[in-house]
């Protein structure tokens, strides 16, 4: 019983991590159709924000809003300088964002060196709940990720901003003709996507290594979640994260971690068989 409870908690915390890491990609790739290969680097930079906050002796939780602000600004700069110029050309976008990802890794390396860094856990230890001990930080991570993902989903589904984004994805010319400043909206959406990636980086920083290459490990998982969850609807991120977390946790429990990875890739392949193949934005 306790083992099952623990495994459920493991699944939920994995779900939270996957969802928060993939959220920004869900906006940028899933909704806007921008194949952003630098998404992992946004997460990596968010983790470095947490590292800097730790280094100067500030409270770790401060790094969450700070990473959001820093990455939002960076996202805006990148959108203006790069993305909007090539938005409707998927091949160019892939090349450019790939180049960008290398650039950002190099910059991180120049600023912070290649060394592995880490951010100490602000709330070490475990909490007893549901009859089991489970790491306190993970409880907090689950709560914060849930709030941020839910708030973002609501903002994109219930607000006028979300409506406008969906309209632009559906038909950019028509949206312009209705008086919507699509350039400004794309700018904001990309900035918000980058900001949530930064938040994800700050949140996962105490769970692992902070290093210039760290983004490479996040990118495939984020794409997996978005692909499994489906494009054109942001709540697909939650669905995808849930499906991947369930498959991963279940397969690790009954087999092992290697099969778990294979199983989640198989899940993505399976999903693609039954789904229209591209996000609308990419072919717009």
């Amino acid at each position: 019983m306790d083992a099952l409870t623990l495994e459920l908690l493991n699944g939920v915390s994995l779900f939270a991590i996957l969802a928060i890491v993939a959220l920004g990609l869900g906006i940028v790739f899933g909704l806007m159709g921008v194949i952003n290969l630098a998404h992992g680097e946004f997460v990596m930079l968010g983790a470095y924000v947490a590292y800097v906050v730790h280094t100067v002796g500030l409270n770790h939780w401060l790094s969450v809003p700070l990473a959001a602000v820093v990455l939002f600004v960076l996202g805006v700069v990148i959108e203006v300088g790069l993305i909007r110029r090539i938005h409707r050309q998927p091949e160019l976008t892939i090349l450019a964002t790939f180049g960008l990802s290398v650039c950002l890794r190099q910059i991180a390396e120049l600023v912070f060196s290649k060394d592995f860094q880490s951010v100490p856990n602000p709330v070490p230890g475990a909490t007893r709940a549901f009859g089991v001990l489970f790491p306190t930080y993970r409880y907090l991570l689950i709560a914060i990720a849930a709030v941020i993902v839910a708030a973002t989903l609501l903002a994109f589904t219930r607000s006028r901003f979300g409506l406008v984004v969906r309209a632009i994805v559906a038909d950019r010319d028509l949206a312009e003709s209705a008086g919507i400043r699509t350039g400004m909206t794309n700018l904001c959406a990309f900035g918000v996507g980058a900001a949530t990636a930064g938040i994800a980086g700050a949140l996962v920083a105490p769970l692992g290594a902070v290093e210039p290459q760290a983004g490479l490990a996040y990118l495939p998982g984020a794409f997996l979640v978005v692909i499994v969850g489906g494009y054109n609807r942001l709540w697909g991120v939650a669905v995808g994260a849930l499906a991947v977390a369930a498959v991963q946790t279940g397969v690790i429990h009954f087999y092992d971690a290697v099969w778990a990875q294979i199983a989640s890739l198989a899940l993505a392949v399976l999903v693609l068989q039954f789904r229209r193949p591209t996000p609308a934005g990419a072919v717009a």
Partner: protein
């Protein structure tokens, strides 16, 4: 990381391959014109495939102004330095200044990509290699020059880098510290060109080729003496083996299982996780449920850091279940922090804390030259240095740089280096000291046990 990052890099082959393709674009985009400092980033380093000849010698020219101009006539008059002596051992009389056409030593290493972290100490050590061998009279009276090439932690790039070293830089020997995947990709080129190739990185063992020597630690060396010692020290009997999913951890665990059972212990769990794993919650639960007394983690880089930091909160940290690690090095341990690492034992063929007059002087000189916060000298860079000295000694003994003659002279060669007493075995590996360091409460490494001249359990007959 050597063996390590190669599968990591394999899984990221796509990225790294594209990285290379886009390098020029990226360098331009970044406006990053690096000057080629030792820890120059990938843009310049990978550029080293074509430009390393200017990168590597650059620092040396200032350090070794006595490198002669390459006009040859004097070559004949250069007196032969004593051949079998290790060049680093101080000679009573000043050795003659080397002159003539330089002997070219290629160094194939990872200076970018996931294992790029370990590049800077190696490029630093390349300076010492030139300095020290030249100061001892060079090779057969000729000066040496080093040529560095970066594999970007990618076997395809590594193959190109090897090609560059052999075809463009015309090196006489290649010293390698990189992944096994790069070794497999680069080895055929060395074989075809009949260039001696000394692979100096810790790896899973089993390599055997007529042009190769393998001087890094193999699992049998790291584990045979240390596993029984560990069980005796801790009283633990049951082990959990947790590794990344590729050949080096799997081989290491095959050996570990053998030594554990021979010592009367038992393996109660063996798990592998993909490279790049970030969440260890389920694995932690499996370990907690196994009841193991000891954990042998063969995890690399970020995976190691993620596992160990998460393990503490799941109640299976070092304080609860002692670790014996065979790859955790200073950088990774430093990132975990002493709260996580204090008490861990690490088995390797070199730590900068090795307490010998030779090593203390060497390490002092290293930090004096490169600064107190330089990327620390460690087992990879130390083994590269040793490989260069072994090569110089063998070439001096052979009186030539001819590959077959030097290879013949390598066999049975012994010397004392900052690493300790080392000698080439009949299996073309290296009998070497094995040290166990225990991480202290302040994060420093204290060598608590050493085993002299540990023989590798390898066989090789390349004929």
């Amino acid at each position: 990381m050597r063996t390590i990052q190669d599968s990591r890099s394999r899984s990221r082959l796509w990225f790294v391959a594209a990285l290379v393709a886009l390098l020029a674009l990226v360098a331009a985009a970044c406006g990053e014109d690096d000057d080629g400092t030792p820890d120059a980033p990938a843009a310049t380093d990978t550029g080293a495939e074509s430009t390393d000849s200017e990168e590597a010698p650059e620092p040396e020219t200032t350090e070794a102004p006595e490198v002669p101009e390459p006009d040859e006539p004097e070559t004949t008059e250069a007196p032969e330095p004593e051949t079998t002596e290790a060049p680093d051992e101080p000679e009573p009389q000043e050795p003659a200044e080397p002159s003539g056409e330089p002997v070219r030593i290629g160094i194939l290493f990872s200076n970018s990509g996931p294992a790029g972290l370990f590049g800077p100490p190696t490029s630093n050590i390349a300076e010492f290699i030139e300095e020290d061998i030249n100061a001892a009279g060079g090779i057969n009276g000729r000066p040496v020059e080093t040529y560095l090439a970066d594999d970007a932690t990618d076997p395809a790039v590594g193959r190109q880098a090897m090609e560059q070293l052999i075809d463009s830089d015309n090196v006489d020997v290649v010293l390698g510290t990189h992944s096994s995947a790069t070794r497999q990709a680069a080895k055929p080129l060395a074989e075809d060109a009949n260039v001696l190739y000394i692979y100096a990185a810790l790896y899973e063992g089993g390599e055997c080729s007529s042009v190769m020597f393998n001087t890094g630690e193999v699992p049998s060396q790291q584990l045979a003496p240390v596993i029984p010692w560990m069980m005796e020290q801790t009283g633990g009997q049951t082990w959990f083996l947790l590794g990344n999913d590729y050949v080096w951890p799997r081989r290491s665990f095959e050996w570990a299982r053998q030594y554990i059972e021979a010592a009367g212990g038992e393996v109660v769990g063996e798990e592998y996780v993909p490279l790049g794993t970030q969440d260890f919650s389920s694995v932690a639960q499996i370990i907690a449920g196994s009841g193991a007394d000891l954990i042998f983690p063969a995890l690399v880089g970020g995976d190691a850091i993620a596992f160990e930091t998460q393990a503490v909160d799941f109640g299976i940290g070092q304080d609860a279940i002692p670790r014996l690690a065979n790859i955790y090095e200073e950088n990774v341990l430093g990132a975990m922090g002493p709260a996580v690492t204090a008490g861990m034992r690490v088995t390797l063929g070199y730590f900068k804390e090795v307490d010998s007059a030779l090593n203390n002087a060497f390490v002092g000189r290293y930090f004096e030259r490169f600064g107190a916060d330089a990327p620390p000298h460690m087992t990879f860079s130390s083994h590269i240095y040793d490989a260069a000295l072994l090569y110089a000694a063998a070439a001096n003994a052979a009186g030539t740089t001819d590959t077959a003659a030097v290879a013949a002279a390598m066999e049975g060669l012994s010397m004392t280096t900052p690493t300790g007493d080392i000698s080439i075995t009949g299996s073309r590996h290296l009998a070497q000291p094995i040290y166990v360091a225990e991480i202290q409460a302040d994060g420093s490494q204290l060598i608590v046990q050493s085993f002299a001249s540990v023989e590798p359990d390898e066989t090789c007959d390349p004929a």
